[in-house]
Structure formats: structure tokens, C-alpha cells
């Protein structure tokens, strides 16, 4: 089993390299580059621009440049970000923490709400509760996250005369006076800023996960072993929660890896809309300023986070499902 996991993770490495290579080609296809701002700056002589170009190998063919990037990557060096004037790794580490903070809260809420709701809907199929949930799910699945975010921001903003609206911030990650707060005040400030993005991300993911959980559970309940369990006189609670539920959960865990990808995508757009200093807004900034190394670094981190998500899903599956272990 361990070998299997290892093999699957190792396959990711060449795949990730291929993606970074394609990205590298694409970024270099675009006209202009990050050094343009230095070239047009009269304070910087053309000679020193040439020097920078030479130092970062911008004057060499794309393939060679990619080679240099790879070599530096092997040394754990992601390069230098010209737009932020700092090393790419230091910029990314800070931003990635912010993105993870937001998405992990959303992930936890989604799973803890969606699965019980899905099971409830399946067990009480065609009841009023199920119908209302279905309807809400349909709504939630089609409501674009960016629109929901704008609506909520508008809603909270219009309530800013009330104490509720005034308390909830609608953008950014910290208040302007964050530095003057006490330690607990800072944590409380973070929590308040998390409310809006976590609600948006949770609602977006909740609906589809609830539908899938319901579908899986219904499928399991139709199977023969459930009939057998009922026939031998097991109490309904045990049939549902001990037999059917455990089987219904397994496919969901595989889904966990994929849902992580969607979550990161949704989070990226949301970050841009609400000014959250995360990986997504960083990526947009990097793309706009054609900061090659920063784009490459963010892509790589996005990919690695996805791989880790898949890996966690695989490990969870091993823990939960004894059939996978053998």
C-alpha cells in the first residue's frame, strides 16, 4: 500500500514539471517583460539593465532559461520577484498561509455540514426536508461564488448603520489598526475578516457535496446487504449508520482531493474580489506585471497544494476503508 502511494505521488513530479514548462513557454511568448519598467526609468542606465538581464539569464533562449530555473528549483530557490522586490519563496510562503487559512476553514465547515445534510436527505427521501434541501442545493450550485461575494458585500455594507453590519468587515484580511490590537484582539479581528470569504466558499461547495452525499447514500441503501441487514432484524439506526453510511463515505473521500482543487480555484477569484492577500491575488498581480518567476512559483505551489490534497485523500481512504489496505 505504501509503495502504491509512493508511486502515485512520484508520477506527479514529471507531470508538474511538464506543466511548469508549458507555463514558462507561455509567459515568455507574451510581448514585453518585467524589466520594461527599468528600461524606461531614466535613473537606470542601459548598461545596468543589461547586467540584470545577464544575471537572470533573460538574454538566453527560453529552453536555457527554463533549465536555469529548474537548477535553482533543485536548490530550493524559486527566484527573485522583480515586482515585489523580494525572493519569490518569501512572498509565496506568506500568501499561501493566508489562502490555506481561508480554504481550510471553508473545507471544514463544508464537510461537517454537507455530509450530515446529505445523509438526512437520503434517509428521508422525498420528505419536505429533502425537497427543501434539494431546492436550496440547486440554487447554491448555480450561484456563482463571485456574485454571491458581491451580494454579501453589498448586503453587509447596506447594514453598516446597524451594529451587525458595522462589526463585519467586507474586505482584506486585517483592520487598519490591527497592529495596535492586543493578541486576542488580533485573533478576533482575523475571525471577523474570515466570516465573509468562508461563507461564500462554504455555500459554493456545500450544495454539490450535499447532492453527491445524498446520491451515494441512496445507492447504498438500495443494495442487497442493506435488505439483508434489515431482514435479520437489525435496528434501522444500525442499518443506516453502521452499514450503509460507512460504504457511502468512501467515494466521498476520493472526491476530497478534487474538491480541494475547486476550492483553491474559487478561493483565488474570491481573493481578488475581496482583496484577500492570498495566492490567487498574488498570481493575478504577477501575471499583470509579467513577473515570470512569481507566476511560476505560484503555479508550482498551486499544483503542490493539489497534490497534497490528493495525498491526504488517499491516506484517509486507507484509514477508513479496510479493503484498500490489503
Amino acid at each position: 500500500m505504501r509503495d502504491d502511494l509512493l508511486r502515485r505521488t512520484l508520477i506527479f513530479v514529471p507531470q508538474l514539471l511538464l506543466v511548469t514548462f508549458i507555463t514558462f513557454l507561455f509567459i515568455n511568448m507574451a510581448p514585453g517583460d518585467i524589466l520594461a519598467k527599468y528600461r524606461f526609468d531614466p535613473r537606470i542606465s542601459p548598461a545596468s539593465v543589461k547586467e540584470i538581464e545577464h544575471k537572470f539569464h533573460f538574454d538566453e533562449p527560453v529552453m536555457v532559461q527554463y533549465g536555469y530555473w529548474l537548477v535553482r528549483l533543485c536548490h530550493g530557490d524559486l527566484g527573485y520577484s522583480f515586482s515585489r522586490e523580494a525572493s519569490v519563496s518569501s512572498v509565496i510562503v506568506e500568501r499561501m498561509g493566508n489562502t490555506l487559512l481561508m480554504s481550510s476553514f471553508a473545507l471544514i465547515f463544508t464537510w461537517f455540514i454537507a455530509i450530515p445534510l446529505g445523509i438526512f436527505a437520503a434517509v428521508k427521501q422525498y420528505s419536505w426536508g429533502d425537497r427543501i434541501l434539494s431546492f436550496i442545493s440547486y440554487f447554491g450550485m448555480s450561484l456563482p461564488g463571485f456574485f454571491l461575494a458581491l451580494l454579501l458585500m453589498f448586503g453587509i455594507y447596506s447594514l453598516s448603520n446597524t451594529s451587525f453590519g458595522a462589526a463585519i468587515p467586507i474586505g482584506g484580511m486585517v483592520s487598519p489598526n490591527h497592529d495596535q490590537m492586543t493578541f486576542f484582539g488580533q485573533i478576533w479581528d482575523h475571525i471577523l475578516h474570515l466570516i465573509l470569504p468562508v461563507i461564500v466558499l462554504t455555500i459554493g461547495a456545500l450544495a454539490s457535496l450535499q447532492r453527491i452525499a445524498r446520491g451515494n447514500m441512496l445507492e447504498e441503501l438500495r443494495k442487497q446487504y442493506v435488505t439483508t441487514a434489515r431482514a435479520k432484524g437489525l435496528p434501522e439506526n444500525q442499518v443506516i449508520y453502521k452499514h450503509a453510511l460507512r460504504n457511502a463515505i468512501n467515494p466521498l473521500i476520493t472526491l476530497f482531493g478534487f474538491s480541494f482543487s475547486e476550492l483553491l480555484s474559487g478561493a483565488a477569484l474570491l481573493e481578488i474580489i475581496i482583496n484577500w492577500p492570498g495566492l490567487g491575488s498574488l498570481m493575478l498581480e504577477a501575471v499583470r506585471s509579467q513577473d515570470t518567476f512569481l507566476v511560476m512559483g505560484s503555479m508550482l505551489m498551486g499544483g503542490i497544494m493539489l497534490i497534497i490534497g490528493n495525498l491526504i485523500a488517499d491516506i484517509l481512504l486507507v484509514i477508513v476503508d479496510p479493503r484498500v489496505r490489503s
Binding site: 514529471p14 507531470q15 509567459i27 507574451a30 448555480s142
Partner: protein, 358 residues
């Protein structure tokens, strides 16, 4: 699929109330899109700078205490409040009557037929009083007009995109599943590369390869290509799975024995078996394009002003502190939401209707 099964599926589909509702919503939207030049009261870029963010026109039936069977509107005039913000009030001195087929901007229907009458508008209008049923944008263009024209982008992009995605995904998946073995795993590992990066990141990186300033046609095509580039891999993987199991069946062996070429077997025998899945997948994939275009345009990397798309119109709502003064800029989002929901409903209905087990 024979006629009988088709009819049965259709009957099942018609019993799915949400799918039927979705269908009518889309028919309505596409009708408006088709006759955009006629239905919109103004040209897509007809601005009136005095009318920056004018609120939606109120339609009255009473002027000066007298009832009028013809609906009328009053123009808005503005004063500045203590924060130097414009505040609009209706100027009730002179009524402007509305009429159907009113004379207005000269536009060309579908770029060919010149028309100067629009579905509705302000009749006999020397003062250029505007009807804004959904309010105005920052330079005084009618938001409803912009939404109607914007549908030309938002509602068509999915069809072009789906065409590319499915051509690529089906052939790739079909070949991979049919041949199996080493070729299959090589092709699949390659396809997975595109699923490895969160799609929005990939979208941004791909967009970065092209200049920021492009004509709107170029941007449109670019968005189609970018989203197809991201979408095809997932589809190819599913089709590959289906093709793998279909390739083992007897009729494929029979076709082989009869000497059919591999390409013929894939295109004529294997892929048609995946048709019912494809129909559902097409319907459920179109929203991805609508949302992708909206997302790119919303953050300023997609369709650019003066051209309109629903995402690009919604970008006016990005400045939250201002929305409260003109909340109607959120309306394009409702159109995005409704069209996405309509496609999802139809897709769901189709899935139920085409599933022989239900």
C-alpha cells in the same frame, strides 16, 4: 437509440418541471440575444454623460393629477449633496410618453439590416430623455441595453467552447480507451497534467501569454481557447473509461473482423455509445464557459469596455463602497445566475430522462 426510446426520454424530460422551466428561460434569453439590436432601446455604446448612474426610470400613468393610458416617465435632474455626490430627483414638469416601436438610434440588425425603430422607447423625443429600465452605468449608458448586447458574448461563448472541448476530449478519450495499454497510460498521464493545477491559476497563466490589449473578437476567441484547454482533460478521462469498456464488447470485435479501420471503429461504433453521456455533459459544461468568461472579464482580463459582456458589466460592482449608491449594477449577475441555473436544470433533467435505469 431508436424512436421509441427517444419518445420515452422526451416524455420523461417534459415531466421534469425544473428542466422545462430552464428550457423556457433559455428560449427567452436566446430570443432576446438574437434580436438584441431591436429589443435594446439604444445602441450598445450610446452614452449620455450627464446621466452617470441614473436610477432606473419609474413608469407613471398619472401626470399632473390626470390619468394617462400611455405610460410616461420623467427625466431625472441632479443636484449635489453636501458630500459633492450627485443626487437624482425626478423633474415632473414635463412628461415623456413611452411607446412601442419608437424611433431611436440607427443600428444594424445582425450587422446587416439597418433599423431605426426599437421595441420600446421614448416617443417624440427632441430632448433626448432616456428610458433606463435597469438604471444607467457610469457614463449614462442604459444598463438594460448593455445586458442585452452582453448576452451576445455570454450566451454564445459556451457553444463554441463546447465544440472544441468535445471534439478534442472525445477523440483523445476514445483513442486512449480503444488502444489501451502503454499508449493509454501515456495519454492519460499527459491529460492529467492539465488537471494538476487549480483551473483558475491555469486560466490566469494562459491569459498572461497574450497581450492585455486585444480586440474584443480576439479576446472572445482567446477565452474560448483558454477554457477549452482546461476543460478537455477531464472529459477525455471520462470518455476514456467508457471507451475502455465498450471496446471489449462483441460488436467491436465483429467490426474488427469485418476489417473496419481503427479510426472508423472509434468514430462510428464506440463514440456513438457515449452519446447520452455526451448530451448531458454538453449541457452541464456550457455554464463553465459562462462562468469562466465572467470571471476573466470581472477582473479586467476579458472583454473590455466599450464592448459588453455580463462579466464585464458586473465589474462595475467591484467597488463595494459605491454599490450602495447604484445597486442596479449587480443586475448582470442575476442574468449570469439564471442562465447557469437554466443549463444546470436542463442537464439534470436530461440525465434523469436518458438514464434507462430510472
Amino acid at each position: 437509440m431508436n424512436m421509441l426510446a427517444n419518445q420515452r426520454s422526451l416524455r420523461k424530460l417534459l415531466k421534469h418541471p425544473l428542466a422545462v422551466a430552464g428550457f423556457f428561460v433559455l428560449v427567452f434569453f436566446y430570443f432576446i440575444m438574437a434580436f438584441a439590436e431591436f429589443i435594446a432601446p439604444y445602441g450598445f455604446d450610446n452614452s449620455k454623460r450627464d446621466n452617470s448612474f441614473v436610477p432606473p426610470s419609474r413608469i407613471h400613468f398619472v401626470h399632473d393629477g390626470h390619468f394617462s393610458a400611455r405610460p410616461l416617465i420623467y427625466p431625472y435632474s441632479y443636484t449635489f449633496n453636501s458630500y459633492a455626490e450627485r443626487t437624482y430627483v425626478e423633474d415632473k414638469s414635463k412628461p415623456y410618453y413611452l411607446s412601442f416601436f419608437a424611433k431611436g438610434d440607427k443600428v444594424k440588425l445582425w450587422g446587416i439590416v439597418p433599423i431605426s425603430h426599437h421595441l420600446f422607447g421614448v416617443a417624440n423625443n427632441p430632448d433626448n430623455c432616456r428610458i433606463y429600465i435597469m438604471g444607467a452605468d457610469g457614463v449614462g449608458r442604459d444598463l438594460f441595453t448593455r445586458i442585452v448586447y452582453g448576452s451576445r458574448v455570454s450566451l454564445t461563448i459556451g457553444f463554441f467552447g463546447v465544440a472544441i472541448t468535445f471534439l478534442l476530449g472525445f477523440l483523445y478519450g476514445g483513442i486512449s480507451g480503444y488502444y489501451g495499454g502503454k499508449l493509454d497510460s501515456a495519454l492519460m498521464r499527459f491529460a492529467e497534467c492539465f488537471m494538476l493545477i487549480p483551473s483558475f491559476f491555469l486560466m490566469l497563466a494562459l491569459r498572461s501569454a497574450f497581450p492585455m490589449k486585444l480586440s474584443s473578437t480576439q479576446v472572445y476567441l482567446l477565452i474560448v481557447v483558454i477554457i477549452s484547454f482546461i476543460e478537455w482533460a477531464g472529459l477525455a478521462r471520462i470518455i476514456r473509461g467508457m471507451s475502455l469498456s465498450i471496446a471489449k464488447q462483441d460488436f467491436v470485435k465483429a467490426a474488427k473482423a469485418l476489417g473496419a479501420s481503427d479510426f472508423r471503429i472509434i468514430v462510428r461504433h464506440i463514440l456513438p455509445q457515449t452519446l447520452s453521456y455526451a448530451i448531458v455533459a454538453v449541457t452541464l459544461t456550457i455554464p463553465h464557459y459562462i462562468l469562466g468568461e465572467s470571471a476573466l472579464s470581472l477582473i479586467g482580463l476579458g472583454i473590455q469596455d466599450p464592448q459588453a459582456s455580463w462579466g464585464n458589466l458586473l465589474s462595475a460592482a467591484m467597488n463595494v463602497s459605491d454599490i450602495q449608491y447604484h445597486p442596479w449594477v449587480l443586475i448582470p449577475g442575476i442574468f449570469i445566475f439564471l442562465s447557469v441555473m437554466a443549463f444546470n436544470f436542463i442537464g439534470d433533467g436530461l440525465r434523469d430522462a436518458l438514464d434507462p435505469n430510472r
